[in-house]
């Protein structure tokens, strides 16, 4: 420990008699908004006498338990800090935040002043040499004239008056005061003219008119309230979601919220399609194909063919000419002359641009919501602090049912035990043999999983080749269901296999287990979809040379969507209901099956990918997906309530939501966008149907239009210019990519810098803490020595009954006063003097 200091403590005198109104402190030393607090504490201290217990609730005299890092007196000695020390400690600002109303008022006064003056931090040299206990922003009063709490409150009211109404209300809402207090503040801070205006009201010539007007306003207002209440009730599934959250917690709720998000995306996708493609074509139906339309059998709902083939549902129905202008199209997709009346509507252009626009809007919305979710759930340096988070945040206060709360208690117990076990395991080193075995087991399981995936892929590929080789006639439409059934079965069965394999690897952290399971399932689904895309665009286009291959692909996707829904129902039925019945009756266990959140979310992502893949060939597919999602919501909710329990594993709801939306954006949407781009740019459309027949690629419709614009005249010449130099040229793409990479690099560097700053600040705080403990102990030893040296009788007063200047032994009396005001909590380091 440091040598004895030349340290002169300038402590004010206090009245001997305790009962007097205490204004004992030099105003320059203690911020007097803690006046009230000190009053309370001095009363308590006097009541309890000199001997203070270690932990007295409400005593307000906290003593440090000591950090054990300094050479402190032992814990027993720490019990009896002198009351003088305790009094000083009690007035430290860090101990009174939030407890005293005066402190809160002062804090908010200073905050509002700061808002007005836009000063971020008061400069140190602006503060007087008086030993303000704290230079912290919230409690500093720059004006050396100290104010009472009432005056402070008056000033706060004046500040609030200066703010605009919305900001004032916002500030009041965020204040941690009681509502009654806030009402007083609000009333006082309303400008006098406004208050008068509110009270008097317009004094008309006829007072009864005023009353009638009031009555009308009241009636309208209650009508408005009623309408608002109705609108609130209409908000979809508000009550259902609250019920689920109350019974199962945030983790299961995150699945249903994700479902709601997907509904929104599909609705967003459907609107432009309905408005610009489906609606228009339905208004101007093309000539019916030769031959009678097949009659409606129930099989169409599953296969999407038959009666549905020549409807707005599929690509083949859409005409390739300009609507609303009865003239023979001279060029492919060209525009007729402008003599006819009415707005010419070029269907091919509309089709291409609307699909492009819909995808673009979806992309922007996805990226925005992903970044928003990421911003909410990620913090720099947030990987540490798991224990604090568990202790303070793991209880989900939303839960209101007894059974669910018991489950939560169990979950928390398991989680805490796992955390501590993991910590011990991390500390204990693993032997080389153990590590080798660890790696071997994991490698084997991954190999098996990837092998399963490969097996499924080969099966799908072989089956699809078989389907090409044996074409299906019109009567055997049911046989078309074979490939989708195989795909759905594989998608259903393989995750169960993965779960069994995962039981072999015992993961250390349960969160990692979830991530690994999600990863494997995702790889399986994406690879199968990739094989199917190759099958459609690579093989089917060739196989169906003179027929409408786009219709076929659209129907295939429709079949996949519908069958996926049916298999989800079957999985819910067998996975949850039957399993619960079996486990209750046969195995006699009261445990219900867990709701598999990751698996269900991946199902949703898979379904959405199918929709995005199929939009180009079947513009009404988002509508079918919307219906499917609505039904899935109700089925899953019913099954959840009846059959399932919340997962036993801890679930970081916010992190997983971010992961899900990222998965929706990256493999899912990106894959669909690549598929779309390939189909638009590279594949030759069929020549017998659709809006792009007789063109070499769908994109050519756009090129033809630009060429027409060039011929149209100089007024729209900027569009062809843009097309030639920005769209067809590759240089802008490189430029934009380079800019994006530069921005990403900049952000990475900023985050690195922030991490370093955080480390430095932590170190600084730790140093200040050491300083504080050191000073407190010094203070304690000073008073102890003083008490020992002075006669016992005078110890009855709890005040700082001391001469004004105290000197430590070993110090020199004639020291310059520069060190007298070292009472500030953040002094220079004093232990290297």
């Amino acid at each position: 420990m440091a040598q004895p200091l030349n340290f002169v403590l300038n402590v004010a005198e206090t009245p001997e008699d305790h009962g007097q109104e205490p204004s004992p402190y030099d105003e320059s030393e203690v911020h007097d908004s803690f006046h009230q607090l000190i009053q309370e504490q001095s009363q308590w201290v006097a009541e309890e006498g000199l001997e203070l217990q270690q932990r007295e609730p409400g005593a307000g005299g906290p003593e440090t338990s000591g950090s054990g890092q300094q050479a402190l007196p032992g814990p027993e000695d720490a019990l009896v800090h002198s009351t003088a020390t305790l009094r000083i400690l009690a007035s430290m600002p860090s101990r009174t935040i939030g407890r005293s109303r005066g402190a809160v008022i002062c804090q908010y006064y200073n905050r509002s002043v700061r808002l007005r003056r836009r000063v971020s931090r008061p400069e140190l040299k602006g503060v007087g040499r008086s030993a303000r206990p704290s230079l912290r922003l919230y409690d500093l009063e720059l004006d050396p004239a100290a104010l009472q709490e009432e005056e402070k409150r008056f000033l706060l009211v004046k500040e609030l008056q200066g703010l605009p109404v919305a900001q004032r209300d916002h500030m009041l809402r965020g204040m941690p005061l009681g509502l009654a207090e806030k009402r007083c503040l609000r009333e006082e801070s309303q400008t006098p003219t406004g208050k008068q205006r509110g009270r008097q009201g317009p004094r008309g010539l006829f007072p009864c008119c005023g009353r009638l007007r009031d009555a009308c306003v009241l009636a309208l207002h209650s009508l408005g309230l009623g309408l608002l209440a109705g609108l609130h009730a209409l908000r979809p599934w508000r009550y259902a979601l609250k019920q689920i959250g109350g019974q199962f917690g945030s983790s299961v709720l995150s699945y249903f919220l994700f479902l709601k998000t997907l509904l929104a995306f599909n609705a967003l996708l459907l609107l432009p399609l309905l408005a610009f493609i489906v609606g228009v074509q339905a208004a101007f139906p093309p000539p019916a194909p030769p031959g009678s339309a097949p009659s409606f059998t129930g099989l169409e709902l599953l296969t999407g063919g038959g009666r549905f083939t020549h409807t707005v549902m599929y690509y083949g129905y859409y005409s390739n000419s300009t609507l609303n202008q009865p003239c023979a199209p001279p060029l492919a997709g060209g525009q007729c002359s402008r003599e006819a009346a009415g707005l010419p509507y070029s269907m091919p252009l509309a089709y291409l641009f609307t699909v492009g626009l819909a995808f673009f809007i979806t992309c922007i919305t996805l990226v925005y919501s992903m970044s928003h979710s990421f911003g909410e759930s990620y913090r720099v340096g947030s990987t540490s602090g798991v224990h604090a988070v568990t202790v303070f945040c793991s209880w989900d206060h939303k839960v209101t049912q007894r059974r669910a709360s018991r489950l939560q208690h169990d979950n928390i117990r398991t989680h805490l035990k796992e955390l501590l076990a993991e910590w011990q395991r991390r500390r204990g080193s693993r032997s080389a043999c153990g590590r080798l075995r660890w790696v071997a087991v994991r490698g084997l399981v991954w190999l098996l999983s990837l092998g399963t995936t490969l097996g499924c892929t080969v099966a799908v590929y072989a089956f699809s080749e078989l389907m090409i080789k044996s074409p299906v006639s019109a009567e055997q439409e049911g046989a078309l269901l074979a490939l989708p059934v195989v795909v759905c079965l594989l998608n259903l069965g393989a995750p169960y296999l993965f779960r069994c394999l995962a039981a072999l690897e015992r993961h250390d952290s349960p969160v990692l287990e979830v991530y690994v399971a999600v990863c494997r399932n995702l790889i399986l689904k994406m690879v199968i979809l990739g094989i199917l895309c190759y099958h459609w665009l690579g093989r089917r286009v060739g196989a169906l040379k003179d027929q409408c291959w786009e219709n076929f692909v659209g129907q295939e996707l429709y079949r996949l969507v519908v069958l996926d829904f049916i298999f989800v129902l079957l999985d819910t039925l067998f996975g949850e209901l039957v399993w619960r019945l079996i486990s209750e009756k046969q195995l006699k266990r009261r445990e219900k099956p867990e709701f598999d959140i990751a698996g269900n979310v991946l199902e949703l992502i898979y379904g959405q990918t199918l929709t995005w893949l199929g939009v180009l060939f079947s513009p009404l597919l988002p509508a079918i997906q919307i219906v499917k999602l609505l039904l899935v919501f109700y089925v899953k909710k019913t099954s959840l309530m009846a059959n399932c329990q919340a997962p036993r594993r801890p679930w970081l709801a916010s992190h997983m939501s971010t992961v899900f939306i990222t998965l929706l954006c990256f493999p899912s949407f990106l894959g669909a966008a690549i598929f779309l781009c390939f189909a638009v740019w590279r594949v030759k459309p069929s020549s017998t149907c659709g809006p792009f027949r007789n063109l070499d690629s769908m994109y050519e419709a756009g090129k033809v239009w630009v060429r027409h614009l060039e011929e149209a005249g100089p007024r729209v010449s900027w569009l062809p210019w843009v097309h030639r130099y920005l769209v067809e040229n590759t240089f802008p793409v490189y430029l934009v990519s380079a800019l994006l990479l530069a921005v990403i690099y900049l952000h990475i560097q900023v985050v690195k810098g922030q991490r370093r700053v955080i480390c430095l600040l932590k170190e600084q705080i730790s140093n200040e803490g050491e300083d504080k403990v050191f000073l407190i102990n010094k203070l304690h030893s000073v008073y102890e020595r003083k008490e020992r040296s002075s006669p016992v009788g005078t110890d009855a007063s709890p005040g700082l009954s001391s001469p004004s200047r105290l000197e430590l032994e070993g110090g020199q009396p004639g020291l310059p006063s520069a060190r007298t005001h070292c009472c500030a909590v953040y002094p220079h380091r004093v232990d290297n003097l």
Binding site: R55, P57, L179, A229, V389, T400
Partner: protein
């Protein structure tokens, strides 16, 4: 269960409550109805008070292991006026700002009310979370030490408000978990 005078809330009061709390009009009216059902008969709702026991047995708080602390923090002199209930619902609502929630969470978790969350408070929190008294001493001390190692920045073996605020601001789950719906059920 008594019935207060069935005063409909004046709409100026409703406006004021809506401006000063984070609750929507609908939510305020629902809480008003619940309050009316519970308060003693024959009293105006602004003057009626609920006891701590009544508030503790509300469906939203019935199974909460921290219900006594919540009631202690939000009540004045051990009773709840209507505005106290509204204040409590506002802090726990979904729209409340993080600083307000963290402020009140600190007060709730400070069992011995000394302005700090120290080891004793942490142990009591863990005991409440586990809802049993037979928890091994090792688990408690280990956990307390871990929490203090992570969050106690100035090494005084206690969490001050700033340290608590810092730890909670880092965790996005805090806002999600510190929500209670006082209406609708």
């Amino acid at each position: 269960m008594g019935q207060c005078l069935r005063h409909q809330m004046h709409w100026e009061d409703l406006e004021e409550y809506q401006a000063l709390t984070f609750l929507t009009r609908n939510e305020i009216l629902c809480i008003h109805d619940t309050f009316l059902k519970l308060c003693p008969p024959g009293k105006y709702y602004k003057e009626a008070t609920l006891t701590t026991d009544q508030v503790r047995s509300l469906p939203a708080l019935r199974v909460n292991p921290f219900r006594d602390r919540i009631c202690k923090v939000f009540s004045h002199n051990d009773v709840f006026s209507f505005e106290d209930v509204l204040g409590m619902a506002s802090v726990f609502s979904e729209q409340a700002c993080p600083s307000l929630k963290i402020e009140y969470a600190f007060r709730i978790y400070d069992f011995n009310e000394n302005g700090f969350i120290d080891e004793e408070d942490l142990q009591r929190i863990v005991l409440r979370l586990l809802n049993s008294d037979d928890v091994s001493e090792d688990l408690l001390t280990d956990l307390t030490n871990h929490v203090l190692n992570e969050s106690d920045l100035d090494n005084d073996n206690m969490l001050s408000f700033s340290e608590f605020e810092h730890a909670m601001a880092k965790s996005p789950d805090f806002m999600n978990s510190f929500r209670i719906h006082f209406w609708g059920f």
